[in-house]
């Protein structure tokens, strides 16, 4: 996949303005975001690439407020913890535990819906996907952290530092309570340093395997001792901190955690580590050689590891638009879901059963990556059962919303969403009827041109036209128009971007 024709020195130069066109704009919108809606494509073409990148990666991270339910659930959990301490029996304590778990899971689901709805907004897509990428580097999991509030704060810490210098992001993350719990910093003390965080800092956050020694980890772990948190947030416990001299990467000093992060970013490997992770997330599931990223890494280091700068260079480069990197990347389940929502012009259905469960069945659980490495992605997303889940989702979102099946709680959630102006949950009959006016050839073209990356061969279009033309009457044609749309969204080509 790393094309010999693409010289690393040329690859990261800005794309010439004359090359910018609607095909490339679609590629940018699908890769940096989730989908390429015609209005967004037109806007990007008009503005030009640099201005588009200025806009979709803004100078200031856009805010995301804490969901109201999360606040309420967190208050109740704190109350439950007080109650638990004075609970008379084990049974009482267990009942409190159960309520606590239910509240936390519900709060996590609430945050999931809120984030998905925000990320589905075309104006926010690229930024929220960038945030999603960074949380896939600085991984924590609700599975271990168990506190929705801490997960929310973790995402917020990353959000606040998502477009500034990368070392500042790493330092902020090392103070994130969720990270302190997830990688056992809370257990790490002067007498018993825990290596978990130090190891992942080097291996998965900043440098990559092979760029540090086991001894660097042991010594770095000592620098991160004493990192704690309480209700207010990060707390540094001097008593638990090892203030002695450490040797990390050959340097001596009574380092604290921040010093170790600065030492890590002074290593040569730091300049290409995050660009390579970006390439894996945005460009290609093939491992591209380290040397390919060297020029980009040098520029990034010279910018003080500025993340917004890296985004603009990466998404504005010749390499990003190279034909080898187009219509070839397998969408993640979250991408597939949000791509459908945007392509079909839908709102996120705020129900676990219809939204979070399908994403999980496709192989991805928001806030619950499989391990500290995050999602590996690529072909690992694809097997018979995950493809079956993708097919089911396309079918559901293109079929009338079945309100009869909702239980009372679900109906209430739907009412609340409707009051907030979100009411397009699936593709309804009116939209399909309007669609049928295009006729067989028109429908086939619309489906291929709007939904699929790149251009499909004529055989694909012909199969759709044949299918549509075989409808014996108007009712059957409407049914086939819907079926054709579903099938395109289920087809191998729509899994790619």
């Amino acid at each position: 996949m790393p094309t010999p024709s693409l010289d690393p020195r040329e690859a990261w130069k800005p794309l010439p303005a004359a090359a910018w066109n609607s095909d490339l704009a679609r590629h940018l919108l699908r890769r940096a975001g989730w989908a390429a809606r015609p209005d967004e494509v037109a806007r990007a073409v008009n503005e030009g690439l640099p201005a588009t990148l200025e806009r979709i990666f803004p100078a200031q991270p856009p805010p995301l407020e804490r969901p109201v339910y999360l606040v309420k659930a967190t208050e109740r959990v704190q109350e439950l913890q007080r109650l638990k301490r004075s609970a008379p029996t084990v049974e009482d304590r267990r009942a409190f535990d159960r309520e606590e778990n239910t509240l936390e899971a519900a709060a996590m689901a609430e945050f999931s819906f809120k984030w998905l709805q925000t990320a589905a907004d075309p104006a926010r897509s690229a930024y929220e996907k960038w945030l999603f990428f960074l949380t896939d580097v600085y991984v924590v999991s609700f599975e271990k952290v168990r506190r929705a509030e801490l997960i929310f704060r973790h995402w917020d810490v990353i959000r606040q530092n998502s477009l500034g210098p990368a070392p500042e992001l790493a330092k902020a993350v090392s103070r994130s309570p969720a990270m302190i719990d997830y990688l056992d910093l809370n257990r790490s003390s002067r007498r018993a340093p825990n290596e978990n965080f130090a190891r992942e800092l080097f291996e998965l956050f900043a440098l990559g395997e092979g760029n540090y020694t086991e001894d660097d980890i042991k010594q770095a772990a000592r620098a991160f001792t004493g990192y704690r948190h309480n209700r207010e947030g990060f707390r540094f416990s001097t008593r638990d901190h090892d203030a002695g001299e450490k040797t990390v990467f050959g340097q001596n000093g009574s380092f604290v955690g921040d010093d170790v992060i600065d030492l890590a970013y002074a290593r040569p490997a730091a300049a290409t580590f995050l660009p390579r992770e970006m390439a894996r997330f945005y460009l290609s599931d093939q491992t591209l050689p380290h040397e390919f990223f060297a020029p980009l890494g040098e520029e990034w280091r010279a910018s003080g590891f500025n993340l917004r700068d890296l985004c603009r260079r990466f998404f504005g480069s010749v390499a990003f638009y190279h034909p080898d990197f187009r219509a070839s990347y397998i969408k993640s389940p979250v991408h597939y879901y949000l791509g459908l929502v945007q392509d079909l012009g839908l709102d996120v259905i705020p129900l676990e059963r219809t939204t979070l469960q399908p994403i999980r069945q496709m192989g991805q659980q928001l806030f619950r990556p499989p391990n500290v490495r995050g999602w590996v992605g690529g072909r690992l997303w694809v097997n018979s059962s995950t493809l079956a889940a993708r097919r089911q989702l396309a079918q559901t979102l293109c079929s009338p919303f079945d309100e009869d099946r909702l239980n009372a709680d679900e109906r209430l959630e739907i009412e609340v969403a409707r009051d907030a102006g979100r009411r397009r949950f699936t593709v309804d009959a009116d939209r399909i009827r309007a669609f049928t006016a295009l006729g067989p050839r028109g429908i086939a073209d619309r489906l291929c041109d709007f939904f699929l990356p790149g251009r499909v061969d004529d055989g694909y279009r012909a199969a759709l036209v044949d299918y549509l033309e075989a409808a014996p009457d108007a009712a059957a044609f409407e049914d086939r128009a819907r079926r054709a749309a579903i099938t395109v969204l289920q087809s191998p080509e729509y899994q790619l971007c």
Binding site: D184, I330, Q361, N371, G454, R455, R483, T487
Partner: protein
């Protein structure tokens, strides 16, 4: 490729020159073509099936097969050590974790064996890297892109006159895990199937989808006017979809009709094994199954969580073996556990254990020779030092490939590894 290819399939051969492997291509063929061109299913009387059970996260070996009589063990584990009176005795030195009674019984009946202190030289303590080492059967300092099961499948499919490995439209290997195991990766695509609890396709008309996925000149061009080149991912998606369209109908029918002859406990792990037993009983030609139990990364407060995990493992495996035995299938199935590493002998300050090196693994089948294989690890250790392995995991693989799968193990593993005594 099958030597008896009829001319009706020749048009598909062109795909072979466009970067799609022939094996992948053969799966695009419509089902009626496949059925009409393959020889009758081979007899499956003496088929041998391997079930791999992954203990993801790094299982604490010292608290699984417990050296209860060794004072050093108790010194290493002030809060986590299991007491002599609690362990399930194997001999005067070793016992199983108290929550493994069902496996203890199997051990005593000669249907389970322990391979002790399994690892590899220059151990890596990264979950991902060490899992990769185990799944690709590589040395610690080499990187292989194919998995050991994938290479086994490569080998079984190679040769001009070899028949297709599994019967067509039946997966070569089935995994019950969200992601495809790295061990399944071959040098050519193999038909592997991911089974999950819950995900099921809705009833719908899939004829159009079949036609789109199986069209011979499939391609996506980056821009108008270019050739419609098919990328590797595109070919992969088409192959997987076609495979799954055919396989899913059949497999779901089997699972719906499965009538286990043992009571399985609740939980995803045991239910996964229940489904595997059903598929084996239905006579599927699939030779390898992969089931995963996660949560073994016990850095803190491990006593309860580890006990729960070992209980799930033990009860699940025992129910599975009982089911197979009742159905007269136990002579066809070998089950084997593995985990990316064991854990540090010294417990940490969080009543947990950190990433370590070697650990025991279990093999289960109708006839396992002897309960204990290899030697127990030495616990004469410096503070916070790790165990030194005494049996290389590739010896376990070599034994399984050679004596169970009856395949040239050394070719698949790329080197000669000593065979162990758990299989005669």
């Amino acid at each position: 490729m099958h030597p008896l290819l009829p001319s009706t399939r020749r048009e598909f051969l062109r795909l072979g020159t466009k970067g799609v492997g022939l094996l992948a291509f053969s799966r695009f063929a419509p089902q009626f073509l496949v059925q009409s061109t393959l020889a009758a299913p081979r007899p499956e009387k003496d088929r041998r099936i391997l079930v791999l059970v992954q203990l993801a996260g790094g299982n604490d070996g010292l608290n699984t097969v417990v050296p209860y009589a060794d004072p050093a063990y108790h010194a290493l584990r002030p809060t986590l050590a299991l007491k002599e009176k609690d362990v399930l005795r194997l001999d005067d030195h070793l016992g199983l974790h108290p929550s493994m009674a069902p496996l203890h019984a199997l051990l005593q009946e000669g249907r389970m064996g322990v391979v002790q202190n399994v690892g590899y030289p220059n151990p890596n303590r990264s979950h991902f890297r060490s899992t990769e080492i185990w799944e690709t059967a590589s040395a610690s300092d080499e990187s292989l892109s194919s998995g050991w099961i994938g290479r086994y499948l490569d080998n079984a499919c190679a040769g001009a006159d070899a028949p297709p490995f599994a019967r067509d439209n039946e997966p070569d290997a089935i995994h019950v895990s969200a992601e495809v195991p790295q061990s399944f990766g071959g040098s050519v695509p193999h038909n592997t199937y991911g089974l999950s609890l819950g995900a099921r396709a809705g009833r719908d008309d899939v004829a159009l989808l079949e036609r789109l996925a199986s069209r011979p000149d499939a391609g996506l061009a980056a821009r108008a006017g270019q050739d419609h080149d098919e990328t590797a991912n595109h070919a992969f998606l088409r192959a997987t979809l076609m495979d799954s369209l055919v396989a899913e109908k059949r497999i779901q029918r089997i699972i719906d009709a499965n009538k286990p002859e043992a009571v399985y406990p609740g939980g995803n792990f045991a239910q996964s094994l229940r489904n595997v037993a059903g598929l084996i009983a239905a006579g599927l030609s699939t030779r390898v199954y992969f089931v995963s139990l996660g949560g073994f990364d016990t850095h803190a407060g491990q006593l309860n969580s580890h006990a729960n995990l070992l209980r799930q493992l033990s009860e699940g495996l025992a129910a599975f073996q009982k089911d197979l035995t009742a159905r007269g299938l136990d002579d066809q199935v070998l089950t084997m556990t593995f985990s990316e590493f064991g854990r540090r002998p010294n417990e940490n300050e969080s009543a947990g254990t950190d990433h370590g090196t070697a650990a025991p693994l279990f093999v289960m089948g109708r006839k396992i020779a002897g309960p204990l294989h290899g030697t127990a690890p030495s616990l004469k250790l410096e503070k916070n030092a790790d165990l030194t392995f005494s049996t290389d995991f590739r010896s376990v693989y070599a034994t399984v490939l050679d004596r169970w799968m009856e395949t040239p193990a050394d070719a698949i593993l790329g080197a000669r590894h000593e065979r162990l005594g758990f299989l005669a």
